[in-house]
Amino acid sequence: MSVLSRLRSILPGAIRRTRAESEMDEEIRDHMARYTDDLVRSGVDPAEAARRAKLEFGHIEPLKEHCRQARGWRYLDETSQDLRYAARMFRKNPGFAAVAILTLALGIGANTSIFTIVDAWILKPLPYPHGERLMVVHSTDERRKAMGSSAPADFYDWQSRLTAFDEFAAWDTPLVNLTGTGDPEQLSGVRVTHNFLALFGAGVELGRTFSADDDRPGAERVAILSHELWDLRFSSDPSVAGRVVRLDGKPYTIVGVLAPGFHLPLTGMAQVWIPFAMEAKDRAERRSRYLSVAARLKPGVTRAAANAELKAVAASLAAAYPDTNASRSVRVGALREEIARLGTHDAALMVFALVGCVLLIACFNVANLVVGRAIGRQKEMAVRLGLGAGRMRIMRQLLTENLALFVAAGAVSVLFSMWGVRWISNAIPSEVRPYLPYNGRLSVDVSALLYTFEIALAAGALFGFAPALHCWRLDVNHGLKAGAARAGGSRLKSALVIGEVALALVVLVSSGLLVRGLVRMHRSDPGFDTSKLTTATIVLSDSRYTDFNRAGAFYSEILERLSTSVGVRAAAAATLIPYTGNSSMTRYASNDADLSPAAPLRVVRFNIVAGDFIGALRIPLLRGRAFTAQDRDGASTVGIVNQAFAQREWPGLDPIGRRVHYGPTLKREFAVVGVVRNIEGQNETDRIEPEIFLPYLQLPVRAMTLLVRYDSADPGAAVRQAVRAVDPAQAVAKMSSMNQLMTSQRAQFVITGQVTGCFAALSLFLAGLGIYAVMAYSVATRRREFGIRMALGASGGDVISAVIRQGFRLAGVGLAIGLAAAIGVTRLMEFMLYHVSPTDFPTFASTSCLLAVASVFACYIPARRASRTDPSRALRYE
């Protein structure tokens, strides 16, 4: 029978239930009356006839129950009956219901909040057509075990030779200088092959996307705007298509505006899209590797097969072009993993695991409360069993009651999760957002609500089962005996409390390590002065600054103007500045042995600096001298190293005057003239890396970040003015203070620390509540025992210590298990720990003590109550 017709049969039945019930009664009465009549007619005495009719009919109530069951009403009937009963129980005992629902709602709400993040970043299908077939192709250097961008010639060779992919697209992300509409502005550009936007399913709101013709050499220069840029810079002008703007000084015709929802974490904040339109000589370039490559697998082709084919092609290219391609290979990564690498997905998963523990603690807690209540109702159950109620029926009732509890908690939890998600979403710094899926936007959506509902039901079924099981094993005779009822279930309750304490300790230790890292982070000495320091990135376009010396002259002039501005203490520029996550490495050799071709490859972070960078950052110069204007092209090449480099290369020796070879072929060299102190901010976790600093006049570059130390007022205007004076068409890409950069770089640690800190507080509270509940219960059941003890002369203190000892035995076992588990799992979160060992003793010790003290306190309240037992009353009780 179909579901619909079943419903049609059940529903009217349910609605007219009262009428149907009375009809059933009437029908049975009618039947008996007829039978009695027939018996009387056959000569039986009327009284005897009525008796026989009743006897033959049997018990009427079970029969009616069978009839109801046969009509399919029963489940609906009983469930609604159970629900009403549950509501009545909750109303009668609002404290229990409130504690249980609130506890669970906090646990479930915290869970849903984190699930929302995990779902948006990891679980949801990628919002691109055939997302699971999209791959990112990396060029690798097998000798250095490094992975990076690809050269155009390699890209075009792969495109023409590979059969495993149906699309091959490339991109890079230059900053471009927009002029021709108001003030010059530096935009985040994305240069792409013509098929790139189509590969990721990007549609346009206005105009058209790129065609193959746009990507041919000598094609008319065209550009597509992001929706945000169109809104902000072009005031959503509907007639923008066809307008000409200048990008890096060259005219580009705007042909379209992307649809608003399109976002790709790979390209970060993409404001303007332009086709490569490479010339033949650019396409033949194998030496400079600047392309990122995305590709789509053909349907049915595995990633392993594609990887093998790519490796084979790379090997044949290596054989054909040994100069450039020797030891080069390729690796294919799924788009999803690439996006995960950009974001902080591992941190999200770690927090998700912790919040799972919190939910378990909450569930254990509620299971404990519920089992306690079931034991309290043992006599009621025994009476019902004795009167013939089915065990299944009673179990089902208990289960329904608990499910109702969990579902109510699920509903309340939605509030908590919305609040939590909003809090986390707002905490994500705007610099990080473009590299996150959906631009870092988070909200509680349908799948999160479904998840909430599912875990509420699953937890309800799982943890509501414990009391039901207790009822299953209930012995009627035993259950009816007065007082005997209390003994059962204590083992289950103890196990739940031990589990709770153990889990709470794992959460406490984990968050303790993270929080300790945060404290270290705030107290750490960056090694330079981060306050009153402004940074401004300037990227000179290669089309307008073809000559590197002109770029050098640009920075010289800017720095000169700035250093003489009012309120500026010192001005400098560098290719790498702290707290940006940027890095640039070079090969080097600091002695003759390293110069031999057989020597292992060594790399170091290298930074090209201009102006008074020691004065601007206020890095202490430990030995030697700073750079001067004499360290220019033609003079002897010099460099400054940091302490870590000096110690690694020449431990205990004087580094001044030593020579270092560097560059891809080690052909360049410099003499060390100075040593500066190590500074932090070189990477996310502030690990100190060896670093070398080289003067830009001997090594000019086009893109540098200005570092301006000022007295009182932020010199933003002075920076813009200086840039405008030197080159009116040049824009400043991004200005922010060093403290802002530091805050945003550290945001993921701060958010994770704060979120897990909240979880830890919640776990501590829940574990304490769990211990309290069990001990309070145990004290209540042992009232008579305490009465006897005190009548025999035990003091209040004796009783208190007896109760606390009992409670602490449970907590102690939980703590021991928790410690062992914590030692096992904290290793997994090492990547998020800021200068804290995963087995940091002070953290382990202090969190264990905290939990121990909380458990003693939780025992103390019921213990004190026990010590006030009045012996004469306690003995009369029951």
């Binding site: 029978m1 017709s5 049969s9 009809e23 009437e26 029908e27 049975i28 009618d30 039947h31 009356a33 007829r34 039978y35 033959e56 009919f57 049997g58 018990h59 079970p62 029969l63 069978h66 009839c67 109801r68 069951q69 046969a70 009509r71 399919g72």
Partner: protein
Amino acid sequence: MAKQQDLLQGTLDLLILKAVSLEPMHGYGVLLRIQQLSEGRLQIQQGSLYPALYRLEYRGWITAEWGESENNRRAKYYRLTAAGCKQLQAETETWNRLSAGVAGVLNAEQGRS
């Protein structure tokens, strides 16, 4: 409560369908009619009659309505539905095949001995 032991599983449903197919009747009538047609050989437990009736109604094979009976008594009259008619045919065929099969086996045994 007594179980239906003297009838094969499902046989009671068949008998009820058959009885009701002759004319609409109330529960007690069904009981009497089956006793009468089987010449008293089949005793239906009163306790199992009503669940069976309700089950058949729930499945949509019979339908019930209240009507006046003799001496102004209100009674619930059961009637076969179209689906019930089909079910009755199908079950009758199954029963006939089964009993023919059983009879065949039993006869063969007799013949051999």
